[in-house]
Structures are given as C-alpha cells and as structure tokens.
Symmetry: C2
Subunit: 270 residues, 2 copies
C-alpha cells in the first residue's frame, strides 16, 4: 500500500512548508486533525512522518517548526571549522564550553596525537548550537605544547580554529577523519536534545598543522543527523571528487528515473 490518509497529509504539508523559512511555526496536531477531518492519531502520524524526513522539528509544550539540515563537508581538501560551516549556511553558530581542563592524556589519545602517555593536554568539552538549537557535542584534546592557556581565549572566540590560528600560529588541516551514523548514546541525549536512539553522527578527526604536519588536536564529536547533512569525501590530491556538490548529485541522480529496470533473461529472481 503506497497511499494512506496520513501519508497524503504529510505529502501536502511537505509541499506547503517547502518554501517557508527554517524555524517557521506550523500547525499543531489538533489543528491538522480538524483541517483534514481526521482523528488526532492520523494527524500525529503525518507530523511524525515529516519529523522522520527531517523536515520539521517538534518540541513538546512549544510546537512544530520547519527545519533544514546544514551541509557539513568533511574532506581532505576542506579545513575543519564548525563555525565557518554553519556561517556559510547563513545560520548563527554558537559554542558553549561544558568543561575545559588540563589532564594527562590516556594511552589511546596520546598515541593518536603522537605524544607520550601521561603528557599534559587540554580536554575541552563543548556543546554547539545552530541558531540556538543544540546540534553537536564533542570532546577536543589539545596537547599543552600547542597552546598553554586555552580557556581564556576561548571565552572571546567561539572558534577553536581561530584561537589556534591567531594565538598558536598554526593552521588546522585534517590528517584523517572517520564518521559513522549511530544512535544517540544515553549519556548524550540531554546535551543534544534528542531521545536515546535518535540518529546522530559520530566523527573522529585528527588535525595537523597545514605547514609542518605537526599533530595538533584530536576531536570526537556527535552531531544531530536531523541538523547536519554530513558529506564525507575521500580522495588523494591528484584525484579530487567532481565538483558541483548537490548540483552534480541532482543532475546525476536524474539518470536514475527515466527508464524501467529490465530483467535480463539469465538473471536470478529478485
């Protein structure tokens, strides 16, 4: 069954909200139930469908609002910066420091950073917002030999990228990164404003100085999948991915639709 009342409603609502600015308030469950002449359960199902498609965000006691994802490109050719990524999408970025202290790096972290276990390093935990909505939470590890005092300058600039560039005289570049889609860990549900089990990105990233290759910073970060459209690229310098981003994607995807899949005589049954 491809059609049902709540799907039809979701479809119509999706079309209606397509042109609205992100964050616009839309009708609630009761209003939709009345407007379309259905019970509240069906209206609710329609809105949940939109939430599942990451087109709206619903907050208990407040309402339902249009939403969109911000493109976040992780690529060897792209310097890492949360604030620049968010600002490039014409949204407002903000980071809140949850803790910032100097610790002795445990074995795994020290090894990744090419330091000796027990070496001192900053452990910075931050929550990041897009237009005042929680979108990310992460830990950053920066050996103290990169920068001595981190907490003070971070009160002035949200951007770690900027602090390191201006005060430590280094330029961040990704050495490597690894990303996967997970479900919200129980301990992070509050920080991210999600329910345990909601989809989130988990990203590990090691950054080095673009000029010297010195290892500077190791990051573990969780990103709300409904807030971030993560795009990840691998590739060597000589063979960068075709440019054009979503545009190229859309054009190429168009090649899918036209003709029907064909069963070859010798093919096994689907």
């Amino acid at each position: 069954m491809a059609s049902s009342r709540y799907r039809d409603i979701a479809e119509q609502l999706a079309a209606e909200i397509a042109g609205l600015a992100p964050g616009t308030r839309i009708e609630g469950e009761h209003e939709i139930a009345e407007r379309f002449g259905v019970g509240r359960a069906a209206a609710r199902a329609a809105l949940q469908e939109l939430e599942r498609r990451m087109l709206v965000r619903r907050v208990q006691g407040v309402g339902t609002f249009t939403s969109r994802r911000i493109d976040y490109l992780i690529s060897p050719h792209q310097p890492p910066s949360w604030s620049r990524t968010v600002n490039a999408a014409n949204s407002h970025s903000r980071a809140v420091i949850r803790s910032c202290e100097v610790v002795n790096l445990v074995d795994e972290i020290a090894a990744v950073l090419g330091r000796v276990p027990g070496d001192p390093g900053h452990r910075l935990r931050r929550r990041s917002f897009i237009d005042d909505l929680p979108a990310a939470w992460g830990i950053e590890w920066i050996p103290t030999d990169v920068i001595g005092d981190l907490a003070t300058p971070l009160r002035l600039f949200d951007s770690l990228d900027r602090v390191l560039r201006e005060l430590a005289g280094v330029t961040l570049r990704r050495a490597w990164a690894r990303a996967s889609l997970e479900t919200t860990p129980f301990e992070l549900a509050d920080e991210l404003g999600t329910s345990p089990g909601d989809p989130v990105w988990y990203v590990e990233s090691l950054n080095e100085d673009a000029e010297t290759g010195r290892l500077l910073c190791f990051t573990q970060r969780w990103l709300r999948a409904d807030a971030i459209r993560l795009i990840m690229e691998t590739g060597w310098a000589g063979t960068a991915p075709a440019r054009g981003g979503a545009g190229a994607h859309a054009r190429i995807s168009a090649a899918v639709g036209p003709d029907q899949p064909v069963r070859l005589p010798a093919g096994p049954r689907p």
Copy 2:
C-alpha cells in the same frame, strides 16, 4: 519525560533480543500487548522504537525479526567490494542485474571517468541483497575500453570486482568517494524495500586501477541505512586512522561518561 510504558517495553525487548541471531522472529504486536498488559498502540510504539533503532525489521503480513547492520568501510586504504564486505560479516551476498547495456556516456559521467562525451560504456544497474533482504541499489558505469562484454561474465560471478580482476586484468582501488545520508527517493522505494523518506546512504565512487591509475568505473549507489553501518575515512597514506575500528571507538567513547559536564563561570547560557 524520560520514561514511559512503551519505552520500558522497548528497553526490555532490546535486552531480550540482544543475544539472538539476526533474522530471528520475535513476538508480534498482539502478543506483546498481551504479555505486558498494554493496548496494542503501546506495544506497537515499542516495536517501532526498536525499528527506529535499527534493531528489528518489520514486514507486513510476515512478522518482526531481529536485525543488525553490516559494517561497510569506505577508505582510501580499503579496496571496494560489496561481496567481500558482506561475506566478511558472515552474511550471504547476492546481486541481481536489473539492466546491463552499452550506452554513450553523457557529459558528466564521461568527464568523471576521463573519457570523451559520447564514448561507449556499460551502464549496469544492480540490486544487492544481504541474506536475501534488499540492501542496496546502484548504477555502475564502465567504459567499454576496460572490458568489452560485461553481461556474460557477470552471470557467473556476482562480483564486479572479481570480473574486472580476472577478465580485464585490473585491480580496483578507490580514487575518491563521496557519501551522504539522504531519504529514499520515490523511484527507489520499491527496489530497496523501503518507504519513501526512510534513511538511505547515497554513495558516489570513482575507481581506478591500483597499478596504473587508469580510471575504470564510476558508481552511484543507494544503501539502506538500517542494513549498512557505513564508516567513512579520509586520510593520506602517511597518516592512516588509528586502527581498531569499533573497538577503539568503544574504548574512546567510554571517556565521555564518567564525569558530569561542568559549567564554566564565564560561559554563556546553554
């Protein structure tokens, strides 16, 4: 509110099915409603929660079954092969050819493959299965100068990787890849067995010969997010990601839990 009846039920069911083999049938909505003494709506909500967490797969008219995701690593250091990935997870891989024909490469595809627009190439469309469940659908473009006849050998070996290696004498290596999480396009819902709007991976990948660097194959592929745990790595040869995969991830993640987030005096309000 962190607790509710259906969440508790979902939690208990999650614990119960944790040890079961993938594909095991579990109780239906009616049975769960009876067992826990709740209405069918609550029982249904619990099962939907498990489905959202990608722990079960539900099929109308058939039942509810335990499920798991297969790790699929895309990395410059990892040769691309669907069948080897699936087999490595002790699952059975199968591919069904939906169409295979020689076409004139359109501009975008020809450009990506470093060929002249209009050059002949195979357009191969396949549906891939994991343990006989649809998991992926994709288009592969292979210039005819790489291999003349593709349809015939593919009837013998499901694996394009293997066909090219044994008949064209080339070894596939990723030149670049790009992945993002999308919602199922309407046209692919049937092929993937998902509903439009369900989360799927979209992966573009260009493959070259590992020895000569000659461009061999361009792939566009959609993968069910509930079937594939895609892990993507960037990185140069000199600085490969820390090894250990999920193990390292788990150990490092453990560093999150212990102590509570701390509000710094000067930090802005969350």
